[in-house]
Every structure is written in structure tokens, then in C-alpha cells.
Symmetry: C2
Subunit: 335 residues, 2 copies
């Protein structure tokens, strides 16, 4: 018999289909192999050194000398900062102007680099730039939500190979974010505790779904993981907003993100993946009931009509088995 | 500048990215071409005549003589009816047994048939079988939600070519369904009207997004369509549950579904698509604030990190332009 599991924090159900269960080993060759098998420099790549369009630049680190990471405006933005924020609601026609920011963080000078193979310090630089730019954008009072995400590989939605992460700042709180926040607030009202702190406590006590730990972060496969090898990287310290991260946490974060990506890279042969920073809306940075974390989703399953109709995902692997596989995958934790 | 549009019924936002806008014509060759270019019979197909496993059968029409449509149990079910419905909630571990029904409706005896090319009467037979089987399943008091959906083509999640639709009956109301129902109830509480009836009224008055109409149904591209050529097929009569459909509506439904699928088939060269019947939870069939409809989603866009992180979709086409394209695509409405 299959099993339905509910995520304590979001109250969302998933189906763990043990009858068609696949072992984690079945996914070993899901990826595309060595990332470095293409040239370091591509003359046609807009993110490669030499092709910088300076008028698009929003931030570079370091500020002098050759850049290590750059943030540039997206040439085809989903939202843009120029213009007035206008709302126009009339019957079924409810619209707002597409005000916001849509920017790209270029993670490396090298065209064929990938976070999994970078040093922890270089990964920390990526996150430091995201935090710095996010804090700047949040000063714009029109912005209500900053979404940070990465698409790695074609099936994960990446159209350019050069390693990059995206920032989209929106003038609304998306419904999904609001629904999750409402659920977390209900839990807080009833239990007097942040639900994510409780989840972390339960997981650390049981240890069955923990992949690795550092001083400031814990990586785990959630109890109700929606797909194979989905993982959360959670700060131990309660903080609603990613942009409230401290410098010592930032330095630690690069290590655990690199470790987790390296485990996927080696264990699954460089699979396509998305990651998303789940963080509080910009004006809710101090709340007691939200807790930021990174959700990491290798692209190993396909959403189809059932997911569209129900919002429920079918996971063909056991989260505990995925955690064990990732724990054993040969990299030193926190390297 | 791009535009944010909000769906009046669900309050979900989409981004209409007019700056990277593509014309509907750009999608003309998105599909796979003629469906009939494979044999009518495949000896290895479990759904072809001659390969029936009678112990899996749940329903066949007609009951005597050669079947036209059959409903069979899924060999690898996500949920199954045998066993006790057990709930076990302890801290982060919240589980239920996977009780339910997961069945396949085989839409035709022909391996290479497709709804778009069938007669309206044959499409009506498909929906009649779904209604009949759904009403039977709803008698099982453990069932709270029946999800009916179709995956057409590989990128839409179909693993078998033989034309089929799926039924999944669940012992829970999925969160997505609950959130939509709550939103619709709020509208009803405030306006004293079903929001879907209001949407339909607005759309019929403006006519800019209507694709075609029959006596009992209206097909339209929603104002806040999440992707290119997304359409809704809505009954004119307020009914919360698909399973409350009347015989005269059923006879009409086959025609408009076939017309819409034929328009996609001809206009976009047989694209992959999903459809989902959005209907009330089994115990809410009589409520005033929900209204069943079919949502039809050609697979022309890819969800990536942004959609995962925000739940917001970026539509690169104007809904009004998609409606106009579909209106003009050369089939007689209601044929």
C-alpha cells in the first residue's frame, strides 16, 4: 500500500508510492556528466568576461580588479523598475503594472564552472552578493517579495550554460507565499513555536533524514519530500528573512550548499536542478512564525495532469532512503 | 512594461511578459503532427483489444458487445481501495494509508485514436463513463476528492500512447483545492454570487477572450491565463460538481471538448497537453460558491525555479491574442 505524508509546516500532502518505489541507486545516471567538458570561455556568451554590458550592471564583487561575481539586469525582464506602480481593478480585469527587478547573478568568470565544483568561499561570495543586492532592492518600498532561484540545466529551465542565479523582486506577495505564511502563523498561534524550528528539532532528534550538518545549518530530506532527493538547507537560528543572515552564517552557508550540490553532482552524475530561497515577504522580516531556508529540487520527476489538478506530488522514493544515499555519497561534510 | 494580471476566482497572479511577447503564430509547429501515423493496433499495448485483463475492469460501455470505452484499475496505483484508512500523526511524522482509487479510462479501441479526431458522440461517451464511475466511487465514504485528468503526449507526462484519461480518488481534500474553495467562498460571502458565474458573465459581455459557445458550455481563454492557449470550458448552469452534470449537458460537452481539442490539434499541429476537471470535493457537491469546469493546458511552457519559488507563471502571449487565434482556427464550432 502507498502512503500519504503531510508536511507539518505547509500541511501539503504527498503520495509516497512505495509500490512503484525505486531505490535511490536507480537515479545514479540521471545527470549529464562532467560540467567542465566545455570551454572556459565562450565568445558568444553574454556572461563571459569581455562581453560585459556595463549599463546593465547592478553590483560587482570585488568592486575593483577583475570581478568574481556580477549582478546584471535581465535583458528580457519579467518585471522592471521604471515607471509607476498602477493598479487597475474592474470586474474580471484586474491588473498591475509589472514593476520590480529581474536580475542575474553571474556566479563565476568561467563559462563552464558550476557551484558544486567551486570552493566553499566562492559559493559564499555568490550568496553574499545576493544578500547585498536583496537588501538594496528591499529599500524600494514598491517591492513586497524577493524571489531568489537557480535553474541548472536545460530540463530545469536554464537557457544559458554560464552558471547564474536569478533575482526577481515583485510588487506583490505571491499567493503561494501567503498561503504558506498563513499556515505557519496558524501553527504559531496554536503551539507558540515556529513550525520550522519544531521540524528541525524533530529531525535532529530522529537523525533518519539528516544529510549533513555544520555549525549554523542543517541539510535534510523533508519527511514529506515531493520528489527524489529534494532537500532543505535550514539555518539553526530562527530568522524569518534570508536577508537577516549574519556574516558568520554566510561563511558557513557556502560550505553546506557546496557540499550538498557536490553530493548531487557526484551521486547523480551532475543532474539538472532548481533551488529556491524560501524567505519572508520584505515587510515580514522580523516575524516569529516564518523561518527562511533553501529548497533544492533535482529534476528527476515530471509534473503532469494529476499534479496540475491536485497540487499533490507522487514521490517514487522513500525520503529516508534518499537521505541515506546522500549521506554516504563520498564527500567530506562541510568541506 | 510587462503586466501582472490576477485571476478573479483564485486571486492568483500571472505575469504577462509583453516585452518578450510571442505571437500565437509562433507556436503553430509546437506539436507532433498527425496522430494516426502509427498502427491502429499494438500487440504489446495493455489497452488494445485482445489484451484486456478482466480482473482489473471497473466499467465498460456498452455493457454487451464490443466495448467502446473501458475503465480499468491502474497496475501501479498511486492509491488503492483495499485496507483500512489509518491516520497516524506524531510530531513531524504525519501519515495516512494510501486509500483510494486510481483508474484508467481507455477512450477508444484504436491505439492511434485521439479525442481531437473522434466524433462528438464518442467524446460524450468518454465523459459519460467518467461521470458514471465517479458517482460509483463517491459512494465510498472514505473518498473526499475525485481528480480527473488527461496527459496527452510525452512532455505532458503520458507514458502510453493509447488514448486514455485517469481518475484518482483521494481520502483527503488537496490543499490547492481547499485554498481555491476558500477563496471562492470569500467572494460569495462578500458579493452574494458565485465568482465563476460572475467571470462567465464578464467574459460573455466583453467577448474578447471567448473561443466558442454551445447551448450549455462556453470555452474561453482566461483573463489571467498562466500560459499560451490555456483555456477553460465552463458550463453555463451553476453546478459545483462535475458529477451533477445532466444528460443533455453531457451530450453537449462532447461537442465543445472535441471542438477545442481539434482547434489545438489543427492550430498547433497536435501539441502535447493536459486537461483537468476542476470539481468540488465529493461532500461539497451542492455548494453555491463552487462551479466545475475543465482547464485545458497545452504543454508549451516550462515551469522552473521562479514558478517553484513563487507559484507565479510567466505567460509570453496575450490571452486575447490566443483566443483570437483559436477562434479563427478552421473548424466549425460545436461540430
Amino acid at each position: 500500500m502507498t502512503q500519504l505524508r503531510q508536511n507539518l509546516a505547509t500541511k501539503e500532502w504527498v503520495i509516497i508510492a512505495t509500490e512503484r518505489a525505486r531505490r535511490p541507486d536507480d537515479f545514479i545516471h540521471s545527470g549529464h556528466g562532467p560540467a567542465h567538458d566545455v570551454p572556459e570561455l565562450d565568445a558568444h556568451c553574454p556572461f563571459c568576461p569581455g562581453n560585459e554590458e556595463d549599463e546593465l550592471e547592478a553590483l560587482r564583487l570585488p568592486e575593483t580588479g577583475p570581478w568574481e561575481v556580477r549582478i546584471v539586469r535581465n535583458l528580457y525582464p519579467a518585471v522592471a523598475p521604471e515607471g509607476m506602480l498602477v493598479r487597475d481593478f474592474a470586474g474580471v480585469a484586474r491588473e498591475m503594472s509589472g514593476i520590480g527587478y529581474h536580475e542575474i547573478l553571474v556566479e563565476s568568470r568561467l563559462h563552464n564552472e558550476t557551484l558544486a565544483l567551486m570552493t566553499p568561499a566562492a559559493v559564499t561570495s555568490v550568496f553574499r552578493a545576493l544578500v547585498e543586492r536583496g537588501r538594496e532592492i528591499a529599500q524600494d518600498r514598491r517591492i513586497e517579495m524577493i524571489v531568489i532561484f537557480k535553474n541548472h540545466g536545460h530540463s530545469a529551465g536554464a537557457s544559458l550554460l554560464h552558471p547564474h542565479t536569478q533575482i526577481v523582486a515583485l510588487p506583490i506577495v505571491p499567493n503561494d507565499v501567503r498561503v504558506r505564511a498563513d499556515e505557519a502563523r496558524r501553527y504559531y498561534d496554536q503551539q507558540g513555536q515556529c513550525v520550522f524550528c519544531d521540524v528541525l528539532g524533530h529531525e535532529l532528534a530522529s537523525q533518519t533524514r539528516i544529510v549533513c550538518e555544520t555549525d549554523h545549518f542543517v541539510a535534510l530530506v523533508p519527511y514529506a519530500a515531493a520528489g527524489p532527493f529534494n532537500t532543505w538547507i535550514m539555518p539553526r537560528r530562527h530568522t524569518a528573512s534570508f536577508f537577516g543572515i549574519t556574516e558568520v552564517e554566510l561563511e558557513d552557508l557556502g560550505g553546506i550548499v557546496q557540499t550538498m550540490l557536490r553530493k548531487l553532482y557526484e551521486g547523480l552524475y551532475n543532474p539538472d536542478y532548481n533551488f529556491v530561497v524560501r524567505t519572508a515577504p520584505t515587510r515580514d522580516g522580523g516575524v516569529d512564525y516564518l523561518h527562511w531556508y533553501i529548497t533544492l529540487v533535482p529534476r528527476l520527476a515530471q509534473a503532469a495532469g494529476f499534479e496540475l489538478g491536485s497540487g499533490i506530488f507522487i514521490n517514487v522514493t522513500l525520503p529516508e532512503a534518499c537521505a541515506e544515499f546522500l549521506r554516504k555519497t563520498g564527500v567530506v561534510d562541510g568541506l
